[in-house]
Amino acid sequence: MKISIERGTLLKAVGQAQSVVERRNTIPILANVLIEAEGDTVSFRATDLDIEVVDKTNAVVERAGATTVSAVTLHEIVRKLPDGALVQLTDDGASGRLTVEAGRSNFSLATLPKEDFPVMASSDYSANFSAPAPVLRRLFDKSKFAISTEETRYYLNGVYMHVSDAEGGKVLRCVATDGHRLARIDADLPAGAEELPGVIVPRKTVGELRKLLDDDDATIAVSVSETKVRFATPEITLTSKVIDGTFPDYTRVIPVGNTRKMEVDAAEFARAVDRVATVSSERSRAVKLALDEDRLVLSVNAPDAGAAEEELAVAYGDERLEIGFNAKYLLEIASQVDRENAVFLFNSSGDPTLMREGNDTSAVYVVMPMRV
């Protein structure tokens, strides 16, 4: 194999590969990226056995062939090469080394046979549709903060992507929760997604997917089966196993009878929460919200450390209410609001609270209160 490729192109492809490979794995080949050159394209393939990413890119292929080499090392080398450099990758097949040349730099890297590289089995995808990058970006960006990290609740360690009924008909919906807060984000159902089986997209996949979604004009081809999900741009294909578990029935968690409505400027609210929470050094810092006619008093009382209080003007017309929340959870949901005011719907101080942006029901958040 002998190829020439521009440094920037190579960096992007290898960058994606090195973030997928398992950093400290016990199977050496999983640390490698499989480089395959044929015609005028080169593909870079990396896997941790749960996720596989393939990045196809144009290059000058002088001699077709394939080999595998440490993804992290290759990435480090390419990263340190000067911008605009032309990089030549040569593998003579016999020496067990890949030569990396650029300008006056010359590297020789150990390779492992391409035959040993595990290629992820393909799946029968029952749903294929395409969606604009900004739509997927919104679905996952606004839900991923609520993904659980608890190993015992592995079925919550991802975003549940499925088709659901909403007021205006069927929607493509992403839900994530850790039992303390929940995010439910809807988007118009893309053509072809009707048969989508509900799947739990693992946290790491969500992180890798995010790198495909930066380009506003890109369209992402999505394929879903019961066991796998695939996201593809013309250059990059990301395939991932989905979490083998049942996502809990979240619909009964979302309160429908909450009538006490508070409307507040989200940014101002978040800043105030952040300020009052400063006095407590507890990891689960409780902030008390005391609501009265058009007035919200935020307070924190940490017996060992001190106390803080701040008053905010809000729109609230219901009877007096005192309710406590984990400051971190409040900040996280408030920071999801970017266009309009945050609307909170409370019931009692022991019941879950709902938050949305203005009257937009396509993104709703639920947060469990804390006793204060």
């Binding site: 016990t26 015992t152 039992g179 303390h180 807060r181 507890e282 689960s284 022991g350 469990m368």
Partner: protein, 417 residues
């Protein structure tokens, strides 16, 4: 290089023998008089006490142990030469050393001797943290003005007095933190005095195995090994987030220890660190119903103790021992602290389910750690478990009934499984 004679406590600048008493027992180290965190560990404490009390035993191999479980508690150095080790089953120890004198431990006697040692240590510093009857950390920081001597001299004096006044020997580790002091005291036993300076810390740790860390037992070792971590150098390759993600709080600690950092203070009244209960079965079992009953009863015991002490824990741990004695434990950190039997049980049950297939088991244990005051516990509810609030009220009612009519007045069905 500063030097100190361990026999007459004379300090001097370099030399193989003491200029005052000509003793070869000289200790020299560039940072000898700058370090102040020490660990004192008695040499074969129980056996040494027995030998001191009965001089006939002096040259004989002595093993302290016996009782139901029949394991070696302490072996004297004569027995150790034959391969006898602490925690070894007694039959095996006697196979290695058939003429050994086996003595049943006299707990209260050792405790009394330990008090005498403690009295000597109290003269050195107010900051003493005993780990057991025969070892303690001593923080000598800032005592040089008081004693007119650097810590190293006072510590050498301590073991000298233990030897002369109590007839017992001990080993000292001197360094700049607790972790390294403890490691050092073990380097040169018996009658040792080892120093690990700041400058040599990184070099010293480099090729050492991670099992050297206090708190890294066989199970932790195995999971570290799975991650390719055997030595401190292996640890240094990991970044902090990855270690934390894989090993939780212990991961953070490992990250610091790999760099020779340990910021724990020597504290004479160490607060309680965990509350746990465990039970060993008459017969190994893999029966989920039986194990579930044990999980509940143990959770309830832990919860009762936590409630009695007005404490709550953030971390719930389940500990298991397989039929072949290999240990297994799983832990999880909750978003807030708990003392509720129901919550401890449910968390423990989830943890147990992760490893239930590895049975049969001979032991099961439940514990809480990362303790804090009870106010501030069980404050957050669970969206996915709407019945939790109701069960919490039921538990409060149960507690009230028990407080009034006794523990047997009301029981959960699953506790009689």
């Amino acid at each position: 290089m500063p030097a100190l004679c361990k026999d007459c406590l004379t300090t001097f600048e370099t030399g193989r023998r003491c200029p005052a008493c000509r003793s070869p027992r000289v200790l020299s180290h560039p940072e000898l008089f700058d370090l102040s965190i020490a660990h004192m560990d008695c040499d074969a404490f129980y056996a040494s006490v027995e030998k001191r009390d009965n001089p006939d035993l002096a040259d004989k191999p002595v093993i302290i142990g016996g009782g139901k479980r029949g394991v070696v508690s302490t072996a004297c150095y004569v027995a150790r030469i034959r391969g006898v080790k602490s925690a070894m089953p007694m039959f095996q120890a006697l196979k290695l050393c058939p003429e050994a004198v086996v003595i049943k431990p006299r707990g209260s006697h050792y405790a009394a001797v330990s008090k005498q040692i403690r009295a000597l240590m109290d003269e050195l510093s107010p900051a003493i943290e005993p780990l057991s009857l025969d070892e303690a950390f001593i923080d000598m920081t800032g005592t040089e003005k008081l004693h007119g001597q650097p810590p190293a001299v006072m510590l050498a004096g301590l073991v000298k007095r233990m030897d002369e006044e109590l007839g017992l020997t001990g080993s000292i580790g001197l360094s700049h933190n607790k972790f390294l002091a403890k490691v050092a005291s073990d380097l040169d036993k018996p009658r040792g005095f080892s120093v690990i300076g700041k400058a040599e810390t990184a070099d010293f740790l480099r090729d050492k195995p991670v099992r050297m860390i206090w708190g890294v037992g066989p199970a932790m070792q195995a999971s570290l090994e799975k991650a390719g971590i055997r030595t401190f150098t292996d640890l240094l390759r990991w970044d902090r987030q990855d270690l934390h993600a894989r090993f939780g709080g212990m991961g953070d600690r490992l990250w610091h220890l790999a760099r020779g950092q340990d910021r724990r203070r020597v504290s004479s009244h160490e607060p309680m660190k965990s509350i746990s209960n465990e039970t060993t079965f008459f017969e190994d079992t893999a029966d989920p119903d039986i194990l579930d009953g044990h999980l509940w009863r143990l959770s309830e015991k832990v919860s009762d103790r936590a409630k009695a002490k007005d404490m709550a824990g953030r971390v719930v741990t389940v500990k298991l021992k397989r039929a072949n004695h290999s240990a297994l434990s799983r832990r999880v950190s909750l978003p807030d602290t708990t003392q509720s039997a129901d919550r401890i049980y449910r968390t423990a049950r989830d943890l147990f389910d992760l490893v239930a297939r590895e049975g049969p088991f001979r032991l099961i244990g439940v514990g809480i750690s990362d303790l804090g005051p009870a106010t501030g516990s069980d404050l957050s509810g669970d969206l996915l478990d709407p019945g939790a609030a109701q069960r919490r009220r039921a538990e409060q009612a149960t507690d009230a009934i028990r407080a009034r009519y006794g523990d047997g007045a009301i029981l959960k069905g699953r506790s009689i499984r």
